[in-house]
């Protein structure tokens, strides 16, 4: 069980807490067969998000599709007019709707939510992205670089229909592979991870992607003694820690509240 005292301590942080705001689609660009980049101009201000934090997006589903969809922040521009950038892969109703949006359409946002990535251990970080996991890691890479901390970002995708190679204002991965070899190298992004860790001497790993990839990454890092932070995926309803819908079982059977205590956890909290 997580400490409930801790949980409650973190409540009532309205000053820096999430905001409910409206945004306008400023640009919507299809960057792969199933993926688009959505630039949203905020009509009101939000607390500055940090890498790994996310928003719950109201895709306009009304009564029919009630839940907001979680999307990681890929880019944030506070000035002159605050703007957020999201990367969206079409997987179902909500993401299809978002990718079909025209400039000028309105979107409701709740955020920033959750706890983002913590400070890296040591001087050289490896960022490992699977699929849309590239979004928060591009933001992290941007943050690290702006603090002059070295990092490499490698990204794996299922196939070319999913590949996002970055954008000038956001940065790009250092290497890309696809499982079917349709673009970049062929294989999974954590293939040969053990060798890579020792060869380049990474001191910290950050990973975001499918569960299996995170588990594999955590295992290799643990064996190599490299600290690893993972960002988890979970279905969400409230995003505020209050419905307990996103809870996953972590190491030792502990309840991890992905939306509030995560989505980023130390890999040892997640995997036994």
């Amino acid at each position: 069980m997580p400490s409930w005292r801790d949980h409650l301590q973190r409540l009532r942080v309205a000053e820096h807490g999430p905001a409910l705001v409206r945004a306008v689609v400023a640009r919507n660009e299809r960057v792969a067969a199933r993926v688009c980049v959505l630039d949203l101009r905020l009509e009101e201000d939000v607390p500055a998000p940090s890498a790994g934090q996310f928003f719950l997006v109201d895709c306009g589903g009304g009564r029919e599709h009630l839940l907001r969809r979680p999307l990681s922040v890929m880019g944030y521009d506070p000035a002159p007019q605050p703007a957020l950038i999201f990367l969206v892969e079409v997987v179902g109703w909500g993401t299809r709707r978002l990718c079909a949006m025209q400039p000028g359409e309105k979107v409701g946002l709740l955020g920033p939510l959750g706890r983002g990535f913590g400070a890296p251990a040591g001087r050289f970080s490896l960022l490992i992205a699977g699929g849309m996991g590239i979004a928060p890691l591009l933001f992290l890479s941007h943050e690290l670089k702006s603090r002059e901390q070295a990092c490499d970002l490698i990204a794996g995708f299922r196939d070319s229909g999913q590949v996002f190679g970055g954008r000038q204002d956001i940065g790009s991965p250092n290497g890309v592979c696809t499982e079917d070899g349709s673009m970049g190298g062929r294989g999974k992004v954590c293939d040969g991870l053990a060798g890579r860790l020792s060869e380049f001497g990474y001191t910290s790993v950050f990973a975001c992607g499918p569960g299996g990839m995170l588990e594999e990454t955590a295992r290799v890092c643990a064996a190599a003694g490299v600290p690893c932070q993972v960002s988890l995926d979970s279905r969400m309803a409230c995003g505020l820690g209050m419905c307990r819908g996103c809870v996953k079982q972590g190491a030792g059977g502990a309840n991890l509240c992905v939306c509030k205590d995560g989505p980023v956890f130390d890999s040892t909290q997640v995997f036994d």
Partner: protein, 314 residues
């Protein structure tokens, strides 16, 4: 039309308006702070608590369905002592009536929870959750059995002086009969409805969408079911009712009042918009006017039924 038109007397509790946040979809209230002005709510029903902290069900716990969602949280909660020590002192600052919701797997547990909570003096009422579809014992099994419902109600009634609302499920063959059993056992009012048992399956992986296999359905999809439950139980018992299930806007609130609810609870709609409940409060005066009334109170139970509503005419 002014704000006083929304004043509500719910089994003796004075509410500024009939709009409450439902149990379990607003946590302990504190989490919503800063996202809506909670002082504008009619009141707040806290997440159901058990005697000991409870970790809830296996993941995944939620799944969106057409017009609704399934959940199988399984009453994960911090336990009554943490509620009393950590939550009540802070949430009481909001200044709106608070109701605790209690859940247990024995009649005794319900009684203990009620008396322990009453002792805090911080609560306006207690809601007795005998209708959770997501726990092995003490949930819906109680709520579909008139004797068990009566036994729980009696013991809560005898162990506290606060108004007692018994929360029921629509998944009972004879819901009015169960409502009547609760009424005879001393319930001050009813809360209708809890989520409706349901499930969903991934047709590709062949797995259930919920770790717990089955869950409870909520949201606009169940609104017709909830309205009928309120209508039937109001006619059967005349008790004050907290009506809810799929409420999304002020028009929905009017529907529940007409069916017989004195107050309403906003659940799943809070996920669509954390500030939805206060938006509903703002829209309510216009909806009351549209219904040809000047106060919400005068709409309660005032459905206009047609003269010729005969079943199976020839």
């Amino acid at each position: 039309m002014n704000e006083s038109s929304l004043m509500t007397n719910l089994a003796g509790i004075e509410l500024a308006n009939p709009v409450l946040l439902a149990s379990g979809t607003a946590g302990y209230g504190l989490e919503l702070d800063g996202l809506l002005d909670m002082s504008r709510l009619g009141g707040l029903i806290l997440k159901s608590v058990t005697i000991e902290p409870w970790a809830g069900n296996a993941e995944p716990r939620i799944w969106e369905t057409t017009g609704g969602m399934l959940n199988s949280i399984g009453l994960e909660n911090i336990g009554v002592e943490a509620l009393i020590e950590d939550v009540l002192p802070r949430i009481s600052e909001i200044g709106v009536p608070l109701m605790a919701s209690i859940a247990g797997d024995t009649v005794r547990a319900f009684a203990r929870l009620a008396s322990r909570l009453e002792s805090t003096g911080a609560l306006a009422a207690v809601e007795v959750n005998v209708s959770c579809p997501n726990v092995e014992r003490g949930g819906i099994q109680f709520g579909v059995d008139p004797n068990a419902t009566a036994a729980v109600t009696t013991s809560v009634r005898e162990n506290c002086t606060m108004p007692v609302f018994v929360k029921l499920s629509a998944a009972a063959s004879d819901l009015p009969g169960i409502a009547d059993a609760a009424s005879r056992a001393g319930a001050s009012g009813l809360s209708l409805i809890n989520t409706v048992p349901g499930m969903a399956i991934d047709p590709v992986s062949r797995s259930p969408r919920l770790g717990n296999v089955t869950g409870g359905l909520s949201g606009p999809a169940i609104k017709p079911i909830a309205l009928k439950a309120v209508y039937d139980c109001f006619r059967a018992t005349g008790l004050p009712i907290i009506g809810g299930g799929g409420i999304y806007d002020a028009g929905d609130v009017i529907e529940f009042l007409l069916a017989g609810a004195t107050a309403v609870s906003i659940g799943t709609a809070t996920f669509q918009d954390p500030a939805r409940a206060t938006k509903i409060v703002e829209e309510l005066p216009d909806a009351v006017t549209a219904a040809g009334a000047t106060t919400t109170a005068e709409l309660v139970g005032r459905l206009r039924t047609p003269r010729n509503a005969s079943k199976g005419k020839r």
